[in-house]
Every structure is written in C-alpha cells, then in structure tokens.
Symmetry: C2
Subunit: 180 residues, 2 copies
C-alpha cells in the first residue's frame, strides 16, 4: 500500500477550469450569521471537496475576499460559486419558489438523519447557523426539514465547520446513491 | 418544528459522570505529528460526540492541558480518555498485538470507503497525520488498511479536524449498524 503521488492525485481532481464547467451536486449551503472567518474558509474548502452547487452567505457572515478566509479555504473560495444576501428569509423564500428543499442543521423535535434523504429531497439547501446560537427560530420556521448528526457524548454540538463536513459528506453520498 | 430546549438536550447527552463509566465505541483515534492546537482541541470535541474509546497523541502532537486545546475542545479533553506516546510505531505495534485493526486516513493505491467496514474490522484505531504531509510512509506500512473520503473537487484534502469528523461519523455509524 503506498500513498498516491501528487501527479496521480491531480488526475483524480478537477482543474479550476473544469470546476467552472463541471456539473455540480444539487446541494447548496447557506451560512447564516457565522462569526469566524476561519470557519467560513474551512467550509469553502469542504464545499469544493463535495462539489457543492453554491454557497449562500447571509446576515453578518463574512465574505470573500478576506485574508483569513483564504487561509483556511486554500483557494476554494475562488472555485466554489457563492453570493451574499443580507436577508436570509428573503433568499430562502426565493429558493423555495424555485423548488429547493430547505433543511436546517439543527436538533429539533422532528429532526432526521441525513441517511434518510431520498431523491425528491433534492435540490437541497442546508442552513448552518451561528457558532453559539445555531439557526434562529424565524429561519427554522421557513425550512422543510431539520437534519441532525447522531451524537453520543456529553456535548450538544460540533464545531460548525466539522458539522458542515459531516453533513455534506452524508448528504452528497445520499444524493449520489439516490441518483445512480 | 421547534429546537429542543437546553433541558431537553441535557436528557439526551451523557453527564461527565456517565461518560466516565459508559460503554464507548471500540474506535480509537491516533493523532500523529499534528501541528495545530486548535485542530487537536476540535478533534477532542468530535471524539466526545462519537463516544470514541481513546485518543492517542504521538510524535509532536500537542497534548492537554493547553489553553488553546481547551478553547476548541470546550472541555471534551476532560472526558475523552487519552494518552501520549512518543513513538507512534511502538504504540501501533502494541495495538496490533492487542487485536486492533489499524487504519490510516490516507489516499493510497488501495484505499477504501468507510461504508465498506464490517464487524471484524473492529476494534479499530484510525490514524490522522500532519496537516501538510499526512500519515508518513513508515506508519502507513504498519496499517491494515487506508480509508479515504470520497471527494469531487479541485483540492486533495480536507482540514484535518473536518476529515476527522467525516471519518468518525461514518465509522461510528458503520460500527453501530454492524453490531446491531
């Protein structure tokens, strides 16, 4: 067993040019009131990895170009389509009108596991909220569903960029299984 | 749909006292030559969430108590069993002798998806390596397998604490399915 060389890895990844024209997974990420520039950058890196369709930045979430975002995004902010929208509620209304399933990353009285997603749940936009307060109630009320990460420890949440990774890996896998 | 209250969340989580006596998933994490204190802390928080059996810190990976680790671990370093071992190779030999399956988080010519794990792959220890260089060849040679995260973008890797979250969520889910 040997690690792949840089040249072998390159053949398995998209070039920036390919990334601009390749079909993307019909999965969007909405980052609302995220505080940390490093979390935003890390989530861009993750969204590149899972070829996420679009990153929506809302509320006071910082947006590129920022040196701190680039430090953890490692250039992913240059290849992942993204846009800023001051009002998350207006954006969600528009996305709903276009037929997107809107999901909150939240622990609610009716949360489900990403493994339960089916083909008709796509295109989907998943909302990740503030590091301390999560997705606010007024946005949760606009969502079709909440998705929860099964957890078994003493804490109630994961770091938001870790949660984004766990959810996007699972949601991407489900989309690919369901659309195969 | 409403968010669970703090009181409702508490009933769904372990207390620190319960965490010290509860059965843990037979999944260990070995952090070798990790540079960032914040990554180590974040991985402790993730290991609490998935009730990981033990965190092994090797090489120059920083270890608790450190203020920067606590900042991202949020106290998880106080409930997740952990130990420091200067030599990763010696530790891996000892874990192999005790019957652990040793897996590297790496992209190799023979990597597999966490979804392919079966009951006999447990107890497992997954090795996460340095932020820039990954798991070194001399440790990869001591592993039973390599596990790779399916990625579809332009970059070759995820942030190490995000990768830990994606892998531990998937490995924990597989263990629970296989042992049900």
């Amino acid at each position: 067993m040997r690690k792949l060389t840089h040249e072998e890895l390159v053949t398995r990844r998209l070039s920036p040019e390919q990334a601009s024209s390749a079909a993307r997974h019909p999965i969007g990420v909405l980052l609302h009131d995220i505080r940390s520039l490093y979390n935003v950058g890390s989530i861009f890196r993750t969204c590149d990895a899972f070829r996420i369709d679009h990153v929506y930045l809302t509320g006071f979430t910082p947006r590129p170009p920022r040196t701190e975002i680039s430090k953890t995004a490692l250039g992913a902010e240059l290849v992942v389509p993204h846009s800023y929208h001051p009002s998350a509620a207006e954006l969600i209304g528009s996305l709903r009108d276009k037929g997107h399933c809107i999901a909150a990353a939240e622990i609610t009285d009716d949360s489900r596991d990403a493994d339960s997603l089916v083909a008709t749940d796509f295109p989907m936009v998943i909302i990740l909220g503030n590091e301390l307060t999560g997705v606010p109630d007024e946005l949760l009320g606009l969502c079709h569903m909440a998705i929860e990460i099964p957890m078994y420890g003493t804490k109630h949440s994961l770091n938001v960029s870790v949660a984004a990774g766990v959810l996007l890996a699972a949601i991407t896998a489900r989309y690919r299984e369901e659309s195969a």
